[in-house]
Symmetry: C2
Subunit: 327 residues, 2 copies
């Protein structure tokens, strides 16, 4: 089976490529080729199958078509301009998040073989804020351009599925933590920073108060969801191709509690609270909890505990992050 | 005040232009200019203000920019490829309904003066079917490309409103009846035909059974909603710029009862039932009833009775339809 990862050089794209390389197969079928596509050609993991690494713009239809060659059975569409960046530059967000998804749609349609497309939508496509518990049929009223562009992408891919052009599953990812590397332009960057920076021995400011709740998941369960979405029987989904997966609702205080339990009081003490209105104004609109019953019924896996989530970061990513940041 | 109607040559666009010409003002402010834009330059109504008539493609940004000159305070965006046509030709629907709305967004944004934009979305943007009573926060899961494109248009204009580029109100129109003229490519064409054709003395086939229910409104109340949406205080809407207006849920049998009450048994007898699976498969997905409480609270007017709706067609449109069709 041939697979393409668009955004294959990003946080989740790199992890997914490594996972596929390790597994060598997907859904019991051997992988015969993997294409990684990102603005700059991503590094190839060592794998038991050929890996092609391409640089290009996901908003460029020809570049995307080249990244989805004939015979591609599964496309992971992860390429995106993230929340704060799409809010700061409306035109860039529209170009990458809207035109990019249109280019993916057309490239898949041109194959004529209905590839499975896994699209990473976001909790940010919902409004509702701190008090909401979003039901499975909850309406998406985004409070930011990134969320609007993600909701639009879902509608495009859902309709393309109905038309028989492709076979989409859109996973509305929670905030994935702990993200390795450096703080980034996502408004939710702090959610990872408050665990990652102390584990690196660094101090960090949390821009929201301790009682602020966030809908989160771990990179490990994001990977499980991606693989499940790529291999599940989609006929059970009917026309509605959007999934609210079973993340976890956690307050900043709870996360810091898990940090302290795993890494001790000194780590916990590295986090100060400095309110940042710009960040707060974006993330305060995102709902902090979901029902996610439909996803459970469709076989999407549950989260590990917060403590295990912290431990997983230490196991999977701490050394590489230290090396990357020269620490 | 300067006003533009995109799709000004269509059923509702022509009625709206005539209404504005008659009123001479909108929301108490004298109209100083009206631009009508459609594929072919629409006919100008006789009006107490200058009327500019332009032909062009709403998917052509330059043409749309020319149709929305500096100083435009209100834009009615009615230009669209309707349901069955957008289903039959996916690319045409995407071009007109998606790229067209993007061109409208950019032209309004370029003004820098936040014009009010009234966008005609549709009941077809919802799924749910015959048994649904759609709540005000009902999720849009379209079962057709037209509905998906309308839902996307709403998201685009809602986000553009939040960004301060324009000030949008999207009205999810019920099936507007009685439509004058000839049957058209809308899957809902029969809803008007079963009243109009008998009033013209013609026989017609109804493609769905008598107990089939439809969410409808009259052209007169569509006009009231358009004018209200153009002049209302939108701050009460908050971020959610979509409106489910107070239409009426009516079965085919009820509509034919109203026809008989107004025009007699002979008129009723002109309607036969010949099931059409292609039409049925599109319209069966549309919900037949809505709560519409939010719209009532926001001042959107109720429907007249079905009998009055039939009488309004006779008063407003029967003679012109007869003339147009050489009857
Ligand atoms: N990480 C999270 O918490 C989270 C939460 C919700 C949704 N998501 C979504 O999941 C996906 C992956 O997230 P991530 O955390 O790996 O993000 P990331 O920013 O690390 O990766 C996104 C990748 O897209 C690439 N990209 C951006 N513009 C591009 C363009 N024009 N052409 C080609 N590639 C382009 C970037 O270079 C980057 O490598 C994204 O779609 C994101 O919106 C992530
Ligand atoms: N009439 C209804 O029952 C109903 C119900 C729900 C929503 N709506 C929406 O209300 C609006 C008006 O409906 P209507 O019944 O007057 O439809 P209509 O088809 O009579 O009018 C639409 C107009 O758009 C024009 N148009 C199509 N493609 C164009 C293009 N590329 N460039 C410029 N103009 C173009 C057509 O020429 C037509 O005059 C539409 O947006 C429709 O989708 C109508």
């Amino acid at each position: 089976m041939r697979i393409t990862i668009l955004g294959g050089g990003g946080f989740l794209g790199k992890k997914l490529a490594a996972r596929l390389a390790r597994d060598g197969s997907l859904g019991g079928k051997p992988i015969t080729g993997l294409t990684l596509f990102d603005l700059a050609a991503p590094p190839a993991p060592s794998a038991p199958f050929p890996v092609q690494c391409l640089g290009g713009d996901v908003a460029d239809p020809a570049a995307v078509a080249a990244a989805i060659p004939a015979g591609t059975e599964v496309v992971f569409h992860l390429a995106a301009v993230v929340s704060a960046a799409a809010e700061a530059d409306y035109d860039l967000g529209m170009k990458v998040n809207l035109n990019g998804t249109l280019a993916v749609l057309q490239a898949c349609r041109a194959l004529g073989t209905k590839p499975r497309v896994i699209f990473t939508s976001s909790v940010a496509s919902f409004g509702g804020g701190q008090d909401a518990v979003v039901p499975d049929d909850g309406r998406q009223v985004p409070t930011n351009s990134y969320g609007a562009q993600k909701a639009i992408g879902e509608l495009l891919l859902q309709d393309a599925t109905r038309k028989g052009f492709l076979d989409a599953v859109s996973i509305r990812l929670p905030t994935v933590m702990v993200r390795p590397g450096r703080p980034n332009k996502a408004a939710s960057s702090f959610v990872s920073a408050i665990l990652r920076e102390p584990l690196l021995g660094l101090s960090t400011d949390c821009p929201v108060p301790p009682e602020f709740a966030v809908w989160i998941c771990s990179p490990r369960s994001a990977m499980e969801w991606f693989l499940h979405a790529a291999t599940m029987d989609t006929s059970a989904m009917g026309i509605d191709r959007g999934i609210n997966p079973p993340g976890r609702s956690a307050t900043v205080a709870k996360m810091l509690g898990a940090l302290e339990a795993v890494a001790g009081h000194a780590a916990r003490e590295k986090v100060g609270f400095v309110f940042d209105k710009e960040v707060f104004d974006i993330v305060v609109g995102w709902p902090a909890a979901f029902e996610a019953e439909r996803a459970r019924r469709l076989g999407f896996a549950e989260q590990e505990s917060l403590e295990d989530l912290v431990r997983a970061f230490i196991e999977d990513d701490l050394a590489a992050t230290k090396a990357e940041r020269g620490l």
